[in-house]
């Protein structure tokens, strides 16, 4: 067992904050690293120490394991937390940390190499006797091999990048005639996105749900599952809303999925937090999809319903402590929902919307957790993913959690840039979502339908008057701060009379 005095957080945004908060609560000093685009970022101002990595491009900063380890040495950090994305699933980096005598807070490189590769993980799943979607276990060598495998398992099928994620290099194929073109497109997209054109092929499950199991394993051979998350609300294969528990997972299914996930992880000597993703079909049969060998974006919903702190557990496990928690001690209580707030414009094709945040009014009160990575005045850079914050609502029931999230979204105001806040209101009011009739195609179908948010209209005359008040304002005192301009109008117009 090794005490941590100092942890380097090799990430940015909300997840860097999340990790630093856990460190601070455990009395561990934190080291931030930053690119030139991020000197004024929130994660820098939240750290005890901060070091520059390089230019804005991730490839010259947050992906530079060598520079990060150099900082770790200079700052005498005991360990590195990679967050998600960037170097979090990079086995070479995990190994380099080990070589440098710095603890990598994650699984051993060996387990990461097997379980983090989609094709190797599928082989491991087969060995562990875990049900998986029928299809090729290894990358396809040619179009001909793809045709042969597809015939075996039957159409429709799905082509997927072996190295990939986030929907890149994926193609659904319904007939043999489409396969060759789709194979080439998927492969070249995978090559461009991940540097490897390897693709594999799976039976396409109709209307599947994406449900995943959270695992936590220590270095002493203990591994527990912390329930499931329902992540079926996706756009372009990116999760948009996550929940725990899933409305379709009962105790028995949870136990079966959980035990299968634990078996897989244990078979490869997995340690630390990890997630096993499944597709669940309409008959509630589950199929192994892939494993994420790191902390997930959506870990907070699991924290809310289990009452545990996954990042603190990660830190404890990494420094050699036993889990100290038996499977039967873990209980799921209530319901949690997470919305990923992005700087993008749902009214305009979900285009990214970087720029300066001029206002930020954050929701609070009962059952609300916000993991925010930005502040008013911050200019959201173009160079990284557009996630601003994660909003989580917890309540005794799913219905109450949905209503609570709607209430919190109503309190959330982000000015200066466009965000997807309105999209969440639309989903959370949708009858299908409320009835938990969701699958991975749900959101695309909803977005294809006519929007009508059912909001009670403000009378037009009131809108006119409000606009007039603001206009009057801006003509007279154009350069003062908003607050004082308004106060001035209030006085002039006798608004308080």
């Amino acid at each position: 067992m090794r005490a941590f005095g100092k942890v380097l957080v090799a990430n940015r945004g909300e997840i860097a904050l999340r990790v630093m908060r856990a460190c601070r609560e455990m009395g561990i000093r934190t080291v931030a690293v930053y690119s030139d685009a991020d000197r004024a970022a929130l994660h820098v101002a939240a750290a005890d120490e901060a070091y520059r990595l390089g230019p804005a491009a991730a490839s010259e900063s947050y992906l530079r394991g060598d520079l990060i380890l150099d900082v770790a040495r200079r700052a005498r950090a005991d360990a590195v937390h990679p967050g998600y994305g960037f170097l979090s699933e990079n086995a070479e980096f995990a190994e380099a940390c080990e070589t440098a005598g710095v603890i990598f807070i994650g699984p051993p490189a060996s387990a990461m190499r097997v379980l983090g590769s989609k094709t190797k993980a599928r082989q491991a799943a087969d060995r562990a006797g875990m049900p998986r979607v029928p299809g090729s276990v290894t990358g396809l060598g040619s179009v001909e091999e793809a045709v042969r495998v597809a015939r075996e398992i039957g159409y429709p099928v799905m082509l997927k990048a072996a190295a990939g994620g986030g929907g890149k290099g994926m193609r659904a194929v319904s007939t043999e005639g489409e396969l060759a073109a789709a194979f080439r497109a998927a492969s070249s997209e995978a090559e461009r996105s991940f540097g490897s054109g390897e693709v594999y092929l799976e039976k396409l499950i109709e209307r599947p749900r994406h449900i995943e199991i959270q695992l936590m394993a220590d270095q002493h051979g203990s591994c527990v599952y912390l329930g499931e998350r329902e992540c079926s609300v996706q756009r372009r294969h990116q999760k948009v809303i996550e929940e725990a528990p899933s409305a379709v997972v009962g105790e028995d299914l949870r136990r079966r999925m959980g035990e299968a996930a634990v078996r897989l992880a244990m078979s490869e000597g997995y340690v630390n937090a990890g997630t096993v993703e499944f597709l669940v079909d309409e008959a509630r049969d589950f199929y192994f999809l892939e494993m994420n060998t790191r902390l997930q974006v959506e870990h907070p919903v699991t924290e809310m319903v289990t009452g545990l702190d996954l990042v603190q557990m990660q830190l404890r496990v990494a420094r050699g402590e036993p889990l100290g928690l038996r499977q039967e001690e873990i209980s799921i209580r209530g319901h949690a929902i997470e919305c990923r707030i992005y700087a993008e414009d749902p009214e305009n094709n979900f285009f990214p919307s970087p720029g300066r945040i001029t206002r930020l009014e954050r929701p609070g009160g009962p059952g609300i957790r916000e993991d925010c990575g930005v502040y008013p005045g911050w200019v959201v850079p173009l160079d990284y993913d557009p996630m601003l914050s994660k909003l989580v609502a917890y309540a005794p029931t799913r219905e109450a959690a949905i209503d609570r999230m709607l209430r919190a979204l109503g309190e959330y105001e982000i000015g200066g840039i466009r965000t997807n806040l309105a999209l969440f209101r639309r989903i959370l009011k949708d009858a299908d979502f409320r009835a938990a009739r969701i699958d991975t195609g749900y959101l695309e179908r909803l977005l294809g339908a006519d929007a009508s948010d059912g909001r009670e209209d403000v009378p037009e005359d009131v809108v006119a008057v409000v606009c007039a008040l603001f206009s009057l304002n801006s003509q007279t005192t154009p350069k003062e701060a908003d607050g004082s301009r308004w106060a001035a109008v209030g006085r002039r117009e006798g608004l308080r009379e």
Binding site: F351, R359, R455, V465, V466, C467
Partner: protein, 139 residues
């Protein structure tokens, strides 16, 4: 404060409750109004307004763009051009992808606003573009 709108009198009590935020009470109803650039968010609903004519407000965002004459495809956000899918002189359908811009790790296709012929392409692969920059014009 009494206001007259289209000849009807309404009683409005407005009060600043923070920078850029008004609490407006009309007949007991309380409405929170937030200034965001040239738009006002009234009770959560976004309304663009013109500052220069107090009585004009344009209604909900995204309202009609005239479909006649040459139209520009403009960059809706800063980014980098990663693909140019059309050339000058080419026929395009309304909604057809014209240019792909990468920003914030996302590839974003920009579409032709109308069916017509590409009059001009203003960018090439690798270019950095600013908000509102003309990428192509369809006539």
């Amino acid at each position: 404060m009494a206001c007259s709108v289209d000849g009807r009198e309404i009683e409005v009590d407005a009060c600043s409750v923070g920078p850029g935020v008004l609490s407006v009470v009309v007949g007991g109803r309380q409405i929170r109004c937030v200034l965001d650039g040239d738009a006002v968010v009234v009770d959560g609903r976004r309304v663009e307004f013109s500052r220069h004519d107090p009585r004009s407000w344009l209604g909900l965002r995204g309202a009609g763009v005239g479909a006649d004459g040459p139209q520009a495809v403009k960059a809706p956000m800063p980014g980098r051009v990663i693909r140019v899918l059309v050339a000058a002189g080419q026929e395009v359908e309304a909604g057809e992808a014209v240019v792909v811009i990468e920003a914030m790790k996302m590839q974003n296709e920009l579409h032709s606003p109308k069916t017509g012929r590409v009059a001009r392409v203003g960018v090439k692969v690798g270019d950095a573009v600013a908000v509102g920059q003309v990428l192509a014009v369809v006539a």
